[in-house]
Symmetry: C2
Subunit: 270 residues, 2 copies
């Protein structure tokens, strides 16, 4: 008895250097045996040293990509990443609602690792009011949590307060990522309708963390697409990204990418 | 002793449905253990039923993507797919030349499986005069070979004549794909500086062939990136795509995609 290939959709920007964006998402989906699809929101020009250009896709074409794959192939789970501007935020919200995509993971990307703005400032309101209510899960890091809820988030108690404030915006669950916390562990706080759970992993000392957030949210979406429940998917996603960071690639002259292929049997190809 | 991960670049269009374009290329690179990068030339709106929209990326941004990854990460091999229009053809030629990408596989995509134009008619001259002289290998199917050399190509003898005419345009080698020939085998003709070689594979009866050409050229580029010679890479690429067609996915309501993940150990995920 064979079961059909799970199908996952990434709604995000393109990173030509292959470490983040829809490229990281497709690599993650494939590594986990999931059929990957995309709705590209923006073409960025970037490498390990930073972002040097952004060409946004027109909102109508972003929506049309979602509609084309949802109506024909079907979407078991989706994730959003870089949404670029307010027009795209609205187009994505409308298209996701129309396609009735229930398993939606929202990575509220706003700024790149090098400090480049990936979401125009006037689009934050739309992300909050139109996208978050559609989310099964939102996955902010500490600066993104601060931007979403308007609170300062520096401690574990702050993370709890931020999680409650973000859930009040309409998301079903939230994973506040504590990677920017001081201390030796990377502690993330998951709050869902069943309560709270702290996910701890040893902090890996590496400068090469490009694509971490994309890879985590894609891995969670992949596990949701397989039919796993939210908590199982979040734990599996965290394990996947922890391995990808541990095997990060020292390529390029700046912040190298995490390795989505780390689980594949390629010992001589590192 | 570990060797560095080979790095391959796809210069092509985006297929949201994930079966062709840069999506097929990234899946192929990953399946073969190669680090995948992209320079996106156009956002198409398509699914298994056809192409319903195209938004071309500006030529300067296409060139900037190539420059960003070549100057920082490096490119062991590249492939071109959909180049959309004359402005992009020129920008790609200039950027590839400047980046000194030697291992270039050119898939001269012009029309989709459903008959949609993926290269504007006035761009064919540029493909011929600016891109082909940079190619280590060109991989036309029969209609593409006809368009490139202006001859009718229906038989094996025609394929030989077409190959010579295409080599005269400046490519180092050419693989004329006979998948559209009548008969029980899929015979491709490789002509390189060492002479000619016919590659035969049993024809697989399936309606699901979306992404065949993208997957073949990406697999050849992946093997070139690993340091293999041209003939070895072409044979390996042909084996890879034959397996991908044999395991094609019956998803969507039209022409389903070939499966780039066919070699992965996922017997229950078909």
């Amino acid at each position: 008895m064979t079961r059909p290939r799970p199908r996952a959709l990434s709604i995000a920007g393109s990173d030509p250097s292959g470490g983040a964006g829809i490229q990281a998402d497709l690599k993650t989906f494939s590594a986990l045996g999931v059929y990957g699809m995309t709705a590209i929101t923006a073409i960025t020009v970037q490498n390990t040293k930073g972002v040097s250009g952004i060409e946004a896709v027109s909102p109508a074409v972003v929506a049309a990509q979602i509609e084309a794959v949802a109506s024909d192939i079907g979407v078991d789970a989706a994730k959003t990443g870089m949404l670029a501007n307010a027009g795209i935020v609205k187009a994505v919200a409308d298209a996701v609602r129309q396609a009735r995509i229930g398993n939606l993971v929202v990575d509220p990307v706003s700024v790149s690792k090098h400090g480049h703005l990936l979401l125009e400032r006037d689009a934050l309101d739309g992300l909050r009011s139109q996208i978050l209510p559609l989310a099964l899960l939102v996955t902010p890091n500490l600066p993104e949590a601060e931007a979403l809820c308007g609170l300062t988030v520096r401690t574990r108690d702050d993370m709890r307060r931020a999680a409650e404030a973000i859930l009040a915006l309409g998301a079903t669950a939230v994973l506040v990522k504590g990677g920017h916390l001081a201390g030796g562990t990377a502690a993330d706080l998951l709050v869902d309708p069943d309560g709270e759970e702290w996910l701890e992993a040893e902090r890996i000392e590496t400068p090469h963390t490009h694509g971490t957030g994309c890879t985590l949210s894609a891995a969670i979406a992949a596990h949701l697409a397989m039919g796993e429940d939210l908590r199982t998917s979040v734990r599996a996603g965290k394990r996947f990204v922890t391995g990808a960071i541990a095997h990060a690639l020292a390529i390029g002259k700046g912040i190298g990418p995490v390795d989505q292929l780390w689980m594949s049997a390629m010992p001589d190809l590192r």
